[in-house]
Amino acid sequence: MLAGRRRFRLEPYVEFAKRAIAREATYRFDVFTGLASFVIRVYLLRAVWVALYAHNAAPPGLPLHAIVTYSTIALLMGLLLDIDQTRALYERLNDGSIATDFMKPISVPLYFFADGTGEVLFHAALIVPGLLLALIFVHIDVPSAGVLAAFGVSFVLGYFVGFFLNFILNCTAFWTLEISAVQLIVTWLTDLLGGQLVPLVLFPAFLAPIMYALPFAAMFSTPLLIYVGAIGPDRYLEVMGVQAFWIVVLGGVATVLWRAGARRVVVQGG
């Protein structure tokens, strides 16, 4: 790429993101069903925790209002983090249209990143109505501005962990063309070991090493524990450092996989 060194222009990627937002907006029915399913899950989870707490002693540091806040915020985060924003990579590999992407003067991975970010930004607009609807059924604790800011940073870090995880999964389609089984496993692992459904502190102690050896907790558990105050300011640097570690590791794996996959396409013709 020596003589072909070109000036980088951000404009196309901003446009990709904008078109992704416009595209998502055309699926209005999905938006309503998504919100409805979110509210139902908020209500059901609250009912489960209320019932569980009525017959059991509350675990230390997690009174009922804290756990209801935890699970509601977890579901809100899920509105964004459960999106497979690089699914387009898998789809375009499967139908072969990735070839036309490579025939354009663009960086193809950046195209997928821009497209996915647009999709997520569209869904971010659902956070406010989602939150308002949730407040009909549940009460949510609101922490101080400082904690909220730390939560925000940790959430963004978690988003990148999720982005690279999805990108890696979709990259495997370069070799297998079929990824749904692997994806299902990862979704389950994220739900369980990421702390989206149940706070990881409630899990048996022997699972702890496994949970912290995997990247899933960096997506949900870390920002959530910051939000409910189970992780105090003295540990922010440490836990966000772990998140950053996972971003570097997964980002590295994603880069290696992408290069190998793209090489396979240009050598073997896909």
Binding site: M1, L2, A3, G4, R6, R9, E11, P12, E15, F16, R19, A22, R23, T26, G96, S97, A99, T100, F102, M103, K104, P105, I106, S107, V265, V266, V267, Q268, G269
Partner: protein
């Protein structure tokens, strides 16, 4: 100076060897045995700016593989490619700015977006100046009659509409070269003609170089004077369409409608190609037989109600070339 030049281009694909059946499929999971398939071998040709060349060959002949190497998405096993001074697979993005691509089987438009939005997106991808973009869109919109469906999502367009959209999309950034891969496949006669007229005009007025791969030789006859024939990965003919017709289209067909029924038909200097009831097709070589002499002999022997002479179309000639062989590659510069 040529705008496209390939020298001894070669592409070999390697795949895991696979025996038939379930056992073979399972064995292939663990097998490290590869088999190699040569898709393109010793392909050399060059194109001057502004040429339209038909790149013709049967399925699996290596047409698409060649086009992929020219667009930079496939790395040649050996040999060299240069397109507008660049090596496509080493300078993919820079090369992409010089080229436009239309695939009959695959759209580059964005499925969920209205046509207009796809164009707008392409404008920003190729950084087309606004006034240039507006002028092109106005011209192509008129030539291809895009007005009625500019605001329709691409997934709702008919094949003909989508193809017209794809042609406009490929030309919006004034590419120096366009690759058209089976561009008229599945289209009706009217749509085919509209697209051929569009390509002819863009080539004439903008000097765009065009490589056209197609099964429909009518596309080639309408658009290009030069064709490159490829079979089993190698170029078997590169030259003027006319010369192909003269050299290989040496046979004419005399179609007779007989006025009476005859048990057997035999005419000196001609071969009976087919006979359906009273219609007989006689093939003869125009270099050794005069039409006059042949017709006279026919009329001496039989009572005939109609006579017609059929020139071979390019399709028949190409089919004959593939079926009967062709000797040494007839390579001439255009």
């Amino acid at each position: 100076m040529p705008i496209i030049e390939t020298v001894l281009l070669r592409k070999v694909f390697r795949s895991i060897k696979r025996e038939p059946g379930v056992r073979g499929a399972l064995a292939a999971l663990f097998s490290r045995e590869y088999e190699e398939k040569t898709a393109v071998e010793r392909v050399s040709f060059s194109l001057e700016p502004g040429e339209i060349v038909g790149y013709i060959g049967p399925n699996g002949a290596g047409k698409s593989t060649t086009i992929k190497m020219l667009t930079g998405i496939l790395v040649p096993t050996s040999g060299t490619v240069r397109v507008a001074g660049l090596v496509p697979h080493e300078q993919r993005e820079a090369n992409a700015e010089n080229i436009g691509v239309v695939f009959g089987q695959r759209s580059q438009l964005y499925w969920d977006l209205p046509l207009r939005e796809s164009f707008e997106l392409l404008r920003s991808i190729y950084d087309v100046p606004r006034d240039r973009y507006r002028a092109n869109l106005a011209e192509f919109g008129e030539l291809l009659d895009l007005g009625r469906f500019m605001d329709t999502p691409v997934r709702q367009l008919s094949l003909g509409e989508r193809m017209r959209g794809d042609f406009a999309a490929a030309m919006l950034h004034d590419p120096k070269i366009v690759y058209l891969d089976e561009p008229t496949i599945g289209l009706d006669v009217v749509a085919k003609e509209a697209i051929r007229a569009f390509v002819a005009r863009v080539n004439r007025e903008r000097g765009t170089t065009v490589i056209l791969t197609t099964h429909d030789l009518a596309d080639v006859e309408r658009l290009s004077r030069r064709i490159i024939l490829i079979d089993e990965g190698t170029v078997i003919y590169d030259g003027a369409l006319e010369r192909l017709r003269e050299e290989y289209g040496t046979h004419r067909t005399l179609v007779l409608t007989l006025a009476e029924s005859y048990p057997e038909i035999a005419v000196e200097g001609a071969v009976v190609e087919s006979r359906e009831q009273n219609v007989v097709r006689l093939r003869f070589d125009r270099r050794t037989q005069s039409v006059e002499g042949l017709v006279l002999r026919v009329l001496e022997q039989y009572r005939v109600s109609d006579i017609a002479i059929v020139e071979p179309d390019i399709e028949t000639i190409v089919r004959r070339l593939y079926l009967e062989g062709y000797g040494a590659p007839a390579t001439v510069s255009p």
